[in-house]
Structure formats: C-alpha cells, structure tokens
C-alpha cells in the first residue's frame, strides 16, 4: 500500500534509529523513550506481495504474519531497520530472530537483536512480576549499550502519554464507527495510513480524521457485528461485510482492539508499567494466562455495543486462534449469538468470492436472528 511506503520514507527522513518489532505487543514506549522509532511489523498484507526471501527460510505452512514480517526484514525494505525486537509471542515468532539473523548475516547486513521473555503464568499461580521487571530492565540496559542512548524516566512518561493518546484516539474512532459516523472501512483506511508513522504524527493524523468524521451525519442501521482474530480482514472482505448489510461496530482483533483496548496508568516506573500492561492486557490467545477471561470479555463487548453476531477472521496456520474457535463458537451459540469463521490465507485474493458467499449467508442468519447476548 502506498501509504505504508510513504510513511516508511518519512521515518527514514527523521534520521532516527528504527527498530522493527515482531508482533504482537512489544513494549513500544520503552523504544520511543530512547529516541528510537519502533514499528510493529504486521499489517503488511498490501505492501508485501511476494514472499521470495521468506520462502528461503520459513515453510509455507507458517502464518502470513510471520512470513510477511520475515520478508519485510530480509528484503530491501529491511534495510531501513537498525535493530529487531521480539518476545515469546508465539512458537513461530520465538524462532524467527535467529532465522532472521541468519538471513541478514548472509545478506551482509547483520542487525542487533533484542529479546525478552514475557511470563505466561497466570498471576494466581506463580508470581512472575519480578521476572518481568528484570526482563524489562535488562532490555533497557542492552538498548543503552547498543545505541548509546541513556534511558530517562521523564522521557518514558512522555512516551507513555503519547502512546496512551494514540490508543485513546483509536478507541474514540471505534466509537464513531459504532455510532455510524464512520464506516469500519474508513476506520481501517485511517488505521493503515497511520501505521508506520512516528507516534507524534500518528496523533496528529488520527486527530484530524476524528475531527472530520465528527462533523458527519450519523448513519446507524444495518446489523451490528463484531470481528475477531489476529488481523482485520483485507479491505475487499470488509467491503463484502458492509455490502452484505452488516456493520462492524466492535472488534477483538489483536492489531486493533486487543492492542488499543487497555492503557496502563501513568506515573508508574517503567517495569511496573509493563507489569500492568501485560497483566491487564485485553485477553488474547497468545497471552496464555489471559485465556480464561476471553469469553467473558467478548460477551461484555458484545453487550456494550449491541453487536448481534461475530465473524471470526481465522489467520491460516495460527494455532492459537484455531484452538479457541470451536469453544468460542459454542459458547456464543449458547448465548444466542451467531458466529461464522472465515479463513484468510496468504493467497486470500483468490478466495474472496467464496468468502463473500459465507459472509452473505451469515448476513442472512443475522437478519433472521432475534437473540442478543
């Protein structure tokens, strides 16, 4: 997508060091506070069209998120990066840093790698706060050593405020979508356009978009639904959903609602901030300790937004999501909430017609359905 490329060029112009972060929930505020520009390497669907470099290192039965991130880093685009961050987000991603290192080494442009382990134990079971604090502080020390930039608590607070502001703007935008002042499609265009921007520019851009849509007439109607998955579906699928008479009013998407749904409090020390950040994160199948809260969370969002159904957007080969679908579908059914699973693969372009059929059929079900959670 042109906007990603344009934004990447802008990033380069800042002459700051750029840190490529593997998904899903890296501690962006730390990097920003250290005068780095962190970019989370997902949402690359429209930019990464071929997977030649990735295919030399990773089997094609890995998910598209990992393959595209690898392609980005190993191809020419990766030349803009000054380092890579990863945490134990999933089995695939924990293996990527070394695979990438290998590939970069071969290409003659090694990059520093930064890793932390985010504890996955449920808090009532083993207290892992100290462990996480130590991981965060060690990461900071390593960043300081590598980039010769000292960490400052004041700057960190400033970064926290900025990232909270971005999350807040996304949340406000989502509300506009729910009230019908903005389509989900427009929200996604704004979301993609703000991706890969420095956080300050994101704030400016999103604020402008919000001002614009606040002046619009509210257009509610159609059947409100939720989408859930790792990434939002591609734009043609969103269009198909909207065309089928469905309106996405809320989401349980990792790169959207799960990311911006919760902001930790201000004025905590950096390590306590991230204890809060991960512990109280919106449930996600990759945050293993949060699994038991996921259904409850989804139901509460469905109730709040009066969404009448759920479309699960399955990221092909993401076992984290796929293990939970049957359970979630069943629980939703018990609550009278219809749901459907659509699978998005690397070559999803070829599948759009069949996805449209599923979406149309689902819209019919929703149309006939009375139940609410």
């Amino acid at each position: 997508m042109d906007s990603i490329k344009a934004n990447l060029l802008k990033l380069r112009e800042t002459r700051k060091k750029i840190l490529g972060c593997l998904p899903l929930y890296p501690p962006m505020e730390i990097f920003h506070a250290m005068d780095l520009i962190p970019v989370t390497l997902w949402g690359l669907r429209d930019m990464i069209r071929t997977l030649d470099e990735s295919d030399r290192h990773i089997q094609n039965y890995s998910c598209s998120v990992a393959r595209r991130a690898a392609e980005f880093i190993l191809s020419e685009s990766g030349m803009m990066l000054d380092g890579i961050f990863a945490y134990n987000a999933c089995d695939t991603l924990r293996n990527l840093p070394e695979i990438l290192s290998n590939g970069l080494q071969d290409a003659g442009r090694p990059l520093p790698m930064f890793q932390i382990h985010v504890p996955m134990v449920p808090s009532g079971q083993t207290d892992a706060k100290d462990y996480l604090c130590n991981e965060i502080l060690s990461l900071i020390r390593l960043l300081e050593k590598t980039f010769h930039i000292p960490f400052s608590s004041d700057r960190f607070q400033d970064s926290v405020e900025k990232y909270n502001e971005v999350r807040n703007l996304y949340r406000r935008m989502e509300k506009q979508v729910a009230s019908g002042k903005m389509t989900f499609q427009d929200f996604m265009i704004a979301f993609h356009s703000s991706g890969f921007l420095p956080v300050e520019d994101q704030i400016r851009f999103l604020s402008g978009e919000l001002d614009r849509c606040c002046n619009k007439e509210s257009k509610p109607g159609n059947h409100p639904i939720m989408i859930s998955g790792i990434l939002p579906p591609p734009l043609p699928v969103i269009q198909a959903i909207e065309k089928a008479g469905l309106r996405i009013v809320c989401n349980d998407i990792a790169s959207l609602g799960r990311y911006y749904g919760y902001s930790p409090g201000l004025n905590a020390s950096v390590e306590q901030y991230f204890v809060d950040f991960y512990e109280n994160h919106i449930p996600c199948p990759t945050l293993l300790y949060s699994a038991d809260n996921r259904m409850e969370y989804m139901i509460s969002v469905l109730q709040k937004t009066s969404a009448e159904g759920v479309i699960f957007v399955g990221e092909k080969f993401c076992e984290y999501e796929y293990f939970e679908f049957p359970y979630l579908e069943k629980r939703l059914k018990d609550k009278g909430v219809p749901s459907v699973l659509i699978e998005i693969a690397v070559d999803d372009e070829d599948n759009i017609a069949s996805l449209k059929n599923r979406i149309d059929a689902f819209a019919e079900v929703i149309g006939q359905h009375e139940g609410r959670p």
Partner: protein, 413 residues
C-alpha cells in the same frame, strides 16, 4: 528387512500395558490423576503417595502407531478443530470426545488437574485449555523461557519456583503431602534409566550400526510414561544388555549398511515398520534422530547431562530446554553437528512436519547449514508425525532415493 522382536520388545509391551492398566486401576481406586505435557517432570508426581499421571501426547503417539490416529483426528475435525492443528492434539481431543473409544488403552482416566508447559510449544497449553474448559478441571501452566543461548540461571530459578508452586497446588488439591525422599528416589531411577538409554544409543556409533532410530522411537515410550519408577530403569538396562548381545553375535538391523542417515523431527509413528523395512532394502539405516538424542541432555549438546547429586529440583529445571523445540536454531545446529560427526552420518532427512511447526520452522536454515557448511547431503520430506493422511510414501521415497544418489555421487567425487 524387519527388525526381529527381542526380549526387550516384549518387556516394552509389558511395561506399557501395565502402565496404562495401573493408571486406570489406581484412578478408579481414588488416586489423584494428573494429565501432563511430555516433559513436565513426572518425578514430582512420584513424590506423592497416590498421584498418577497420564501423558496425552504419548497416548496420541500410541494411537497413531496402532493405526487409529486418523480415526481420532477425524472426530476432532468433526467438532470443528482445524486439520492444520497438531495431530497429537487432534487425536487427543477426538479420543476424549467419545471417552476413549478406539484407543488401544481406552483413553486416559479423567484428570483432577491438567499440567501443561510451553517449552516444546505453547500451543500445547491451548490444547490443554480445551480439556480444562470442557471438563472443568484446573490447568497449571509451567512457563519455560525459550533459549537462544544456554539456559540462564534466572530462568532456572523461575522454573524451580513454578515446580514448587505445582507441588503446593497438588498438596492443596489432593490433600496429600509431598515427600522429598520419594521424589529423590524417583529422580534417581530416571537418571539411571536415562544413562542406560544413552548407552543404548551409542550402539549406533559402530558400523554397521547396532540399532536403528526406529528402535529408539519405539523404546522411547517408558521415557514418556514411566519415568521415575524401577521398571523404567530396568527396561533400559535390559535393552542395553540385549543390544550388546546382538552386536556381539553380529546381528545388525541393516547388515549391509551402506548409507548412515540421520532423522530430524518427531517419529513418523504411522510409518515405523514400513519406512524402516523399505530403507533396509536399500541398505540404508537411519541410525540416529534429534528426537531421541535429546533425551537426558541439555540444550546445545546430545551428550548425557549428568546429575551432580546436589539439588534434584534444579537438575530437572536445568534439562527443561533440552527437547529441541525449547531452544533456537544455533543450539540445534550445534547439538546436531556434534552427533552427526560422531555417528559419521552420510545424509540427513529433514522431516518437515506441518503438524509440528515449532520443530520444523528452523529446518530450512539447518538444511542449508549442513549442506553448505558441513558438506552433508540432505533432503526435506513432508511427514506428519501422527496423521497418515498427510504423508505420501511415494513422494518421500523418491526424495530419499535422490538423497542416496547424492551420497553416492559425493563418494564417487
């Protein structure tokens, strides 16, 4: 050529049958039942008087080896579980769905507690969550940090803390007291048994090899379901003695051994007999495998990691990253390079296994490394460890034969 059934083979059948019968019987008589991931330290449960454990992964492997893997997978798929999910998980979920029907051991007794870990893979915790929700049974998750370098002390301490919490939870739930002496005794049986296991694998050092990797796959079962008991130690002692005798009598699995191959990935449970005999017809022997070599080691090396007689809890924590998937590419290469030199391997079969992405994801780089840097011919074949539908014998053997040709060509050069 078929490997003749030896005494240890009979012993193995006895050990497994008894293990499953005891498990069901003791569960029926009120024992506290735990389901565990393969490498959760079983010795902890033996520290209690009346706690028994079942291992869903191993039970799934047995289903696959006995030819009912696909039947069980299909049941899980009927329930909505994707065919892309790990086949062990599908077998297990399928098996639980109708209370062990079709399972050679009638399934596993219902658990009181489920203990997973994320060292081999964290999707196993998602799989165990399925049971946790469906059965309403608590799920204890042991979080083992992934290793890029040798395991760090901070990680070891973190793992030990979780072991202690697990003990506390079992004490609370079962009303039984953990007994340190019983636990130490169990660790001792495991250590002795594993030492025998390593001796058994050493019969592959010689030419022709005294064993095949298929023997080692089959004889892994006690390691998976019977650690910490005298029968475990006894089984591997017997196995070593018998193999020693066979070698002394010049009885070799592939007497005209021409190609010494190495296997990387989980055993192809549904193909053991077929694959080993077809390879033997080609005078090829898979003499070793990462899957079996990693037992009793620590990450980065396939040498036995000895117990220093200090703290058994620490020792168990120290070995938590040894099982291939819990550590990264560099450590995998390091361990594999060592064993490949030691066994004088001619070629490597990388079994790319879409059911086990954590095992497979580093293989393309490993393949390049061993071919380019170590000069060893390699091949990548597609094998699902437990779902026979995702395996093509013809395609695989076409590639394996090409590998043998490459070995010949290298020799000729």
């Amino acid at each position: 050529m078929e490997t003749a059934k030896i005494g240890a083979g009979k012993h193995l059948t006895q050990v497994i049958t008894k293990a499953y019968m005891d498990l069901h019987e003791r569960a029926a008589n009120g024992a506290f039942v735990v389901w565990i991931a393969i490498n959760v330290p079983a010795e902890i449960f033996l520290g209690f008087e009346n706690v028994v454990y079942g291992v869903p992964e191993s039970h799934a492997a047995m289903n696959a080896a006995k030819g009912v893997g696909v039947t069980q997978c299909a049941k899980a798929e009927q329930l909505g579980y994707s065919m892309d999910l790990c086949s062990y998980a599908r077998i297990d979920i399928g098996c639980v769905s109708d209370h062990g029907k079709d399972s050679p051991s009638f399934g596993l007794p219902k658990p009181d507690l489920i203990v997973s870990n994320n060292n081999n893979c964290s999707l196993l915790t998602k799989w165990f969550d399925v049971h946790h929700r469906q059965m309403g049974v608590p799920h204890f998750l042991i979080d083992v940090p992934f290793c890029y370098q040798p395991q760090k002390e901070k990680d070891r301490e973190y793992i030990v803390r979780q072991f202690r919490d697990l003990i506390r939870v079992i004490e609370q739930m079962s009303g039984q007291k953990f007994n340190m002496d019983r636990f130490c005794q169990a660790v001792d049986h495991s250590i002795q048994g594993v030492a025998h296991w390593k001796k058994f694998l050493e019969f592959a050092d010689r030419k022709p090899s005294g064993i095949t990797a298929f023997d080692s796959f089959v004889h892994m079962a006690p390691f998976l379901i019977q650690r910490g008991v005298p029968a475990f130690e006894e089984h591997y002692r017997l196995l070593v003695e018998e193999t020693e005798q066979r070698v002394a009598n010049c009885v070799f699995p592939v007497p005209e051994e021409k190609y010494r191959l190495f296997w990387d990935n989980i055993a192809p449970w549904h193909q053991l007999r077929k694959m080993s005999s077809r390879l033997a017809d080609l005078n090829a022997n898979i003499v070793g495998a990462t899957y079996t070599s990693c037992i009793g080691t620590k990450e980065g090396s396939f040498d036995l990691y000895p117990f220093d007689n200090t703290d058994p809890m620490h020792f168990l924590a120290r070995t938590q990253n040894s099982y291939i998937c819990p550590h990264g590419l560099e450590l995998r290469k390091q361990a594999m390079a060592g064993v490949i030199r030691k066994l004088k391997i001619d070629g490597i079969i990388f079994a790319s296994n879409r059911s086990c992405k954590p095992y497979s994801i580093t293989q393309m780089d490993q393949q390049q490394y061993f071919f380019n840097q170590e000069g060893i011919p390699t091949v990548m074949i597609e094998v699902d460890h437990a779902d026979a539908r995702k395996y093509s014998e013809e395609n695989s053997f076409l590639r394996i034969e090409a590998l043998l040709e490459a070995i010949d060509a290298k020799r000729a050069a």
